[in-house]
């Protein structure tokens, strides 16, 4: 487990790719703001939620750059214990978690696969963005995590999703998916900060080779999407081995190209060289989001079109 004192040494490997490295390290000491998404499928009147939460002592402000997102003060306000949560009017989630769905740009009627869906923040956002009209297959390999996903689908009143429990790398062929989201399991370095008690996943597991898992998931997703379709690959880690290197592997194995995307949060292009290795030039169209610039969890997003 990395402690805060060890953070500078741990992250020094990324000094070249993290802008304002000192600012990044300083930001690790602060708690992230608290946000929720208004579930417009169930609650059409934001005032109902805002006034309800304010009665319970919270201060609620809309986030101008991302529709239906609200910032809540104080940061430790127990959103999960409110009636607004119980009734499915809100989904507490970090701002940058919405960005992979914005990149996916889901439309009503499309077949969409969320390959690593639990606990469902992105699945439910896809449903909301399409007014419950996309056909979403929400998959997770772990049944215990799927239970949380199913509970969230139920709580938010979503009718356009079905759930499956396949290993992502073995998800069966046969559905002509228009779009696939691979929000891959990762080391979670973008979430790292003071007071965070969980170890970094790859350190905890010891034998878990995350890049190998991520490559397997991305290759399978690419093979599942129809030609001309889109795969969005995202992680909440800074590590290029789990980001650009994974996408680079795909671009060398399959016929695809990266698509540029506009985001409502400050971002940086993906890197095209890492530890002496030159990567696919398309990777500059990927996007990196850093916690200290976005007041949210660090993210990596690549939008890939299948050519053949």
């Amino acid at each position: 487990m990395v402690t805060l004192a060890e953070a500078p040494a741990y992250f020094s490997r990324y000094q070249e790719i993290i802008p304002d490295f000192e600012g990044f390290l300083a930001h690790l000491k602060r708690d992230l703001p608290l946000y929720f998404r208004l579930n417009t499928l169930k609650c059409r009147d934001p005032e109902l939620v805002i006034k309800g939460l304010e009665r319970q002592g919270a201060k609620v402000c809309p986030v101008p750059q991302i529709p239906h997102f609200y910032r809540v003060e104080p940061k430790n306000f127990p959103l999960g214990n409110t009636e607004e949560y119980y009734l499915g009017y809100i989904y507490p989630m970090t701002l940058n978690s919405a960005l992979p769905v914005l990149a996916l740009d889901p439309k009503p009627g499309e077949f969409i696969l969320d390959l690593c869906a639990a606990p469902g923040s992105k699945t439910t956002l896809i449903a909301q963005a399409t007014d419950d009209r996309a056909i979403i297959v929400a998959n997770d390999r772990r049944l215990d995590r799927l239970t949380a996903l199913v509970a969230n689908l139920k709580r938010l009143g979503i009718a356009c999703a079905l759930t499956t429990v396949y290993r992502g790398e073995e998800f069966p062929h046969g559905v002509p998916f228009d779009k696939i989201l691979v929000d891959a399991p990762c080391s979670g370095e973008g979430r790292y900060r003071q007071g965070y008690e969980g170890e970094l996943l790859y350190q905890k597991e010891g034998h878990t080779n995350l890049p190998a898992i991520q490559k397997g998931l991305l290759i399978r997703a690419f093979d599942l999407v129809r030609p001309g379709g889109v795969v969005v690959y995202s992680t909440c880690t800074i590590n290029p081995d789990e980001n650009e290197m994974v996408v680079d592997y795909l671009l060398r194995k399959r016929q695809g190209r990266l698509l540029a995307c506009k985001y409502p949060q400050p971002s940086h292009p993906g890197i095209t060289e890492w530890e002496g290795r030159v990567l696919h030039p398309d990777l500059e169209k990927a996007a990196r989001f850093f916690p200290h610039e976005t007041e949210s969890v660090g993210f990596f997003i690549a939008k890939i079109e299948r050519l053949i």
Binding site: L87, I135, L143, D144, V150, L153, L162, T163, T164, V165
Partner: protein, 157 residues
Amino acid sequence: MGKKARRKKIHQQAVWPRVVNLEERAQVLSFWEERFGIPKETFDPYLLLSTAKNYWLFATPPELKPLQSLRVQTVGLLFTRKVSHYLKPTTTAIQRFGHLATKNVVKLSFGELDRLRRERKLAYETDLSEGYVIISCEGKIWGCGLYLPGRLISYLP
């Protein structure tokens, strides 16, 4: 030796729910229309699926067949239950579509709602007809209740 973690098992024989025929669909949707005044057309964008005791709503896909090859755990939103010879609306469906209801909606004060949730029933007089009602409070739809003359029974989870 540490305890072995108990893991849930995947339902390997899980099969797709059946798509109901037009007659059965009309019967279920008529219940919602007659009881709550929610027009049948509200549910036009959805397929109605059936398992042994439940009806489910699922967004109508361009093609259903490819999806039916998947081993599914859940499909869509739990919409209506078959209880004996009756149909019962689910909390999930009421919370989602209840705002469209034009009749048999019981508006409770916060105090009444609190008592109903704690005590599971409430002495209540209204001119509504007997049967399932939608429980709302301060503009929020909470779920399902059963109105019998002089009392309201909670079906809130």
